[in-house]
Amino acid sequence: MTAVAPRSGASVQTSKRTEILEARPVNLDGFVEEWPEKGLVAMESDYDPQPSVRVEDGRIVELDGRTRDQFDFMDTFIADHAIDVDTCEDAMATPSVEIARMLVDPRTSRADVVALGRGLTPAKILDVVKLMNVVEIMMGIQKTRSRRTPANQAHSTSAKDNPIQVAADAAEAAVRGFAELETTLGVVRYAPLVAIGLQVGGQVGRGGVLTQCALEEATELDLGMRGITAYAETISIYGTESVFVDGDDTPWSKAFLASAYASRGIKMRFTSGTGSEVQMGNAEGRSMLYLEIRCILMAKGAGVQGLQNGSISCIGVPGAVPGGIRAVAAENLVASWMDLECASGNDQSFSHSAMRRTSRLLPQMLPGTDFVCSGYSGVPNKDNMFAGSNLDTEDYDDWNVIQRDMQVDGGLRHVREDVILQVRNKAARAMQALFAELDLPAITDEEVEAATYADSSDDYPDRDALADLEGARSVMDRGITGLDLVKILERTGFGDVAENYLNVLRQRVSGDLLQTAAVLTGDFVPLAAINDANDYAGPGTGYRLSGERWEELKKLRHVTSAENPEEEVV
């Protein structure tokens, strides 16, 4: 299917150049014409509503051309929860072009533009971002990103749900710099073991890394409450009422769920993205970006700390229409502008073309977002149980070089081989000790050795899946908690890992991770859009890649030494 297949069996003679072009990977990507009536259009559609708002008795009674009696539930929720009633009439009166310029103009502070944004309706926000080209959108992201220091998130999964692989790859991802790690399963029953692997591996790689396991709500919440995972992200919301209902939820059920996570001290953000509604055939004639802006405002109204957006699993849809990737950048801008922590996509297989994969990435990577990828595959894509990411382990060196070329911080760094081998090995050994103490099917020395040097799941000895699944069940039945794991790590000679893990668990008492864009530094200092608020105000301000961090990012796998050109810098 991925073979380079000719597009047509035409017998007309073509030039050699055409043959070469036909064979280029980009021609395996799909492109379609717009169909605005049905919502198959990125962000410029005559069928989107005109901005309007009207307040009566302290209540919004008209929103984007609809009166309250015509509201669907998205309108109601947004009108009642997201939009600032006191400021909206003034805010809406500000010309769109002026607001767009404020987003770009460094002399307007983030605080001002965010405050103005609190009074805008979805159609008005769309009207504003429609005026912006992709460079302006990037400038907007640079200013409105909530956290000052950009960060990144990795996927760590296994095609065989092998917990040792997940642990080793999590350790490597953590030491390479990812602030958050996410996993999911092929066989859902494996979840406890894989989630343990992710957490333990993460804490081996770098203390303070936050982990999550994407599952249905009940299990995900359970793992979180046991302290086996630290946050949740895959709580989907949609831009039309019909699709929201098809997903068996409403803004109220999701808002309730958001509070439920917070009540357990667990960090959580929603997920949405352009293209999902039209993909499901119920865009109600609205453009993809308009609907996504409704999602963003719904998320804001629910009071959730953040949002994963940037089309996510529907990236093939905006990716196929004109201006689609601009719209994807615009949705990240709007999420940031609405003062939400933004995990900005780049997390699903996007293109056959390496050039196109890179260009899709730059609008997030260059300005920096709270999490540039909401899932950089920390395993080879064939092991990626989220169906592949825009970037995977093969791209590590490319990413590091781009950071160095552009002097931008994409959250990663080059790490020497010996360090990587050491953390991989240690993660596997920690798992070996845990499994032994928990009476789970033993992890052999051979598996530890494999984990140290492996690339993909193919490089590991097969495990007895049946026994592992029984083990996974017993972990749940016995009520094993994160604290139990800490105790075992402590007494089996992994005291530093235990200490790291305990420090992550302590955060639940303080609730500090519930604030917008919160991550933990290696010293366990919560870094959020409060104590590390973005203060970009034009050239020379905001986050600048400099000092120690810049020195770190100058390192690559191969850099010729200036002092001795016969050698490479180590």
């Binding site: 299917m1 991925t2 073979a3 297949a5 000719p6 597009r7 047509s8 069996g9 395996l28 990507d29 799909g30 492109f31 379609v32 169909w35 049905k38 198959l40 293209g275 039209v278 993909q279 055939g281 699993s313 529907c314 990236i315 093939g316 849809v317 990716g319 196929a320 229409v321 699903q348 297989s349 996007f350 293109s351 056959h352 894509n381 064939k382 990626n384 169906a387 592949g388």
Partner: protein
């Protein structure tokens, strides 16, 4: 998978669906109902990867016939939701087994007693379904209808289907939605396959 055009090396067959009456509950205990989506056969004529609808039907029927089963074909107009189409088919199938097919090729094997969103076998990636797979789906449907336990049709997977086909699939889905006719009940049809040399 079969590249577009690969099936057209043989002679071309066309499909017309001749309406023979309302879709009613069947009585044959081993029959399979093939339930087609609103745009199947008309106005669409081929799947997302250009497998002619005539070939889809012919291979499904051949798979059922080879396994000694019998089949009825129905066309649903009120919904373009695959699960709903297949589940409706299963409910009126004498055996309780139905194959649901969307115009773009997405296919599901359903059974009457299952929840609508569940299934016996699901083939969600339409771009990976070729004539051979449709034959196997037909054969399995007949075996389920006979109370046997066939080996599931091997599923194919391709992570790069998203960039290539996701948008076209959405487009086809929208077109299919456009063909929904809420006023029209499902009908039983006789597939007439004509060979064009």
């Amino acid at each position: 998978m079969t590249a577009p055009g690969a099936v057209s090396t043989e002679s071309v067959r066309t499909l017309s669906l001749r309406e023979i009456g309302p879709a009613e509950r069947g009585t044959k205990p081993d029959e399979v109902v093939i339930a087609l989506s609103p745009a199947f056969g008309d106005p669409f004529t081929k799947t997302i990867v250009d497998v002619p609808h005539a070939e889809v039907i012919r291979q499904l029927l051949a798979g059922i016939e080879e396994r000694g089963g019998s089949a009825r074909v129905i066309k649903v107009y009120k919904t373009a939701d695959l699960a709903a189409i297949a589940h409706f088919g299963a409910k009126i199938s004498g055996s309780g087994i139905a194959v649901g097919v969307l115009s773009r090729g997405t296919t599901v094997l359903h059974q009457r007693d299952l929840a609508r969103l569940s299934n016996l076998e699901l083939f969600p990636q339409a771009p990976l379904l070729d004539a051979e797979v449709f034959r196997m789906i037909g054969a399995n449907a007949a075996q389920y209808a006979q109370g046997q336990s066939p080996k599931p049709v091997p599923t194919r997977n391709d992570q790069m289907a998203r960039p290539r086909w996701q948008a076209k699939a959405a487009l086809l889905h929208l077109k299919e939605f456009d063909c929904i006719d809420h006023s029209r009940n499902a009908v039983e049809v006789e597939p007439v396959i004509t060979k064009v040399d």
